[in-house]
């Protein structure tokens, strides 16, 4: 029994951030898996936990927490275990800068591509009336729009091009940062790396022409080093679909 429950989907994107932080910290938690493709996150029992209807959410005793990056900072501060934020205040600033940059600039571009090529097609064949009802249950208007676009394949060419532009640039920025430092924000592994890994672990597969041993050797070094950590293995073992299984490509040797 533990007093921590995490409501999550696959170890991937926002769900994977608190999952991996908990594993790195050595905090036992009750895993409550929600199937995003089955709209579990918009059902009343989950809306009682997070009225916004987004994943992840965490409870610790009677405390409820949302916002994956803020949850990670809480996990780091509230529990014993290895420190996942650097000690130096400038390095802490840099960790937060990168997490915001990933959360609000790079990740949405990956999401748009992912929803367009994976999430939309995965749910599209469901009964249209059932889908309409599912969309009506979504609390946030912005997300209703995103789901409609994903299901109807209605992301405009301009927005897709802009997302791809940002992905290309973002990969370059990550590589440049990892040329300068061993880890993303400082000389120590921490929350910025956990955040970045959840976004980037499948990049060599999804963006092979931009992210590979030749063009981005430092990203590849960094991804493999994170993959080698026992916490990462344990965390990804909670994945139930091929999405999480993409991580196995990091077993490859550097070219």
């Amino acid at each position: 029994m533990t007093d921590v429950t995490l409501y999550h989907w696959e170890p991937n994107a926002n769900s994977g951030k608190p999952m991996l932080a908990l594993f790195e910290k050595g905090v036992a938690f009750d895993s409550h898996y929600l199937d995003l493709l089955n709209f579990d996150q918009h059902r009343p029992d989950y809306l009682a936990v997070n009225p916004l209807g987004t994943i992840p959410a965490m409870t610790h005793g009677d405390k409820v927490l949302t916002e994956s990056t803020a949850i990670m900072e809480y996990v780091n501060e509230a529990f014993d275990g290895p420190r996942l934020m650097p000690a130096d205040p400038v390095d802490q600033w840099r960790a937060r800068w990168w997490m915001k940059f990933l959360d609000q600039w790079l990740a949405p571009s990956f999401s748009m591509i992912g929803w367009s090529v994976f999430v939309g097609p995965s749910v599209r064949q469901k009964d249209p009336a059932e889908l309409e009802a599912a969309i009506d249950r979504i609390p946030m208007p912005e997300r209703r729009t995103a789901w409609r676009k994903a299901i109807n394949g209605a992301f405009s060419p301009e927005e897709m091009t802009e997302s791809q532009r940002r992905v290309g640039l973002g990969i370059g920025y990550l590589e440049a940062a990892l040329v300068q430092r061993e880890w993303l924000a400082s000389g120590e592994y921490g929350l910025a790396d956990i955040n970045g890994f959840n976004l980037a672990y499948a990049m060599p597969l999804s963006q092979p022409q931009l992210c590979n041993d030749e063009l981005t050797p430092n990203i590849m070094r960094w991804l493999r080093a994170i993959y080698a950590r026992p916490a990462t293995r344990a965390c990804w073992a909670l994945g139930r679909t091929d999405l999480a299984r993409r991580i196995s490509l990091l077993e490859s040797e550097p070219a």
């Binding site: 900072e73 802490q92 840099r94 915001k100």
Partner: protein, 249 residues
């Protein structure tokens, strides 16, 4: 000497950082720049990725040694760590989570809305040279050409109304400050909402607790000191392109 702060008029992110520095007693070398003229993009400032790709858009830059730092909430966290004044973040991890999640809401929903409305009301005259980020440059072009989309402006007004309601509700138990004790959340919320009284007056028609909170905030010596650095009568009416409106949801 603990750092050089390049900042604009005490509005938006420049306000947050100036007030946080005064609250914490951090003695920065202040270098006022004209954000609306695009000074932030000049060769006088360092241009690492953290400056050029800051999500905040036209915010202040704090240079400490050879590191140039941006994004006001995180600069305020840094100042909280290094300054000697009373803490501006709660010590308890859960209370700290509440503050960070609150600030994330302001950063993600309120700031883009306020910046869109502010720029539409007081557009900059020209797009400055040397903007490294193509998406920030596009926000400048839209602002200069007055190309704000009507749907986005309407949605932005809704976001401001919701933000004022959220603060009113947060203060309903009679507390003085958003997190109980005074914190960065108060500074960052005020930073983006100060200019909205004139632009979205309907948000403030029934907000007695927000009004009293703002008066308490303005009465703080550090806040008065920050606002006192203004070189124009109404700093809250001065805007340059800010964070983008969430393109995903």
């Amino acid at each position: 000497m603990t750092g050089i702060l390049y900042h604009g008029q005490p509005n938006g992110p420049s306000f947050t950082v100036l007030a946080a520095a005064f609250e914490k007693g951090v003695d920065l070398e202040r270098r006022p720049i004209d954000l609306v003229a695009g000074d932030r993009h000049s060769a006088a400032l360092p241009h690492p990725i953290e400056v050029d790709q800051s999500i905040e858009g036209e915010g202040p830059v704090l240079v400490v040694g050879d590191v140039a730092m941006t994004d006001s909430v995180f600069l305020a966290c840094y100042l909280d760590d290094i300054g000697t004044g009373p803490a501006i973040r709660p010590a308890d991890p859960y209370a700290r989570w509440q503050m960070m999640a609150w600030c994330r809401y302001v950063i993600e929903r309120v700031a883009p809305a306020a910046a869109a409305l502010g720029n539409a009301a007081a557009p900059p005259h020209t797009v400055p040279a040397g903007i490294a980020s193509a998406d920030l440059a596009a926000r400048w072009t839209d602002a200069v050409e007055g190309e704000a989309d009507a749907t986005q402006l309407a949605d932005s007004r809704t976001k401001i109304v919701q933000a004022v309601e959220k603060i009113e509700a947060q203060l309903a138990d009679g507390r003085d400050w958003l997190m109980g004790d005074f914190s960065i959340a108060d500074l960052e919320s005020f930073a983006w909402l100060a200019g909205m009284r004139a632009l979205v007056p309907q948000a403030f028609v029934a907000s007695p607790r927000v009004d009293a909170w703002e008066a308490r905030l303005r009465a703080r010596p550090a806040v008065a000191q920050a606002l006192g650095l203004a070189t124009v009568p109404n700093p809250e009416a001065i805007w340059a392109p800010g964070p983008e409106i969430n393109r995903w949801g």
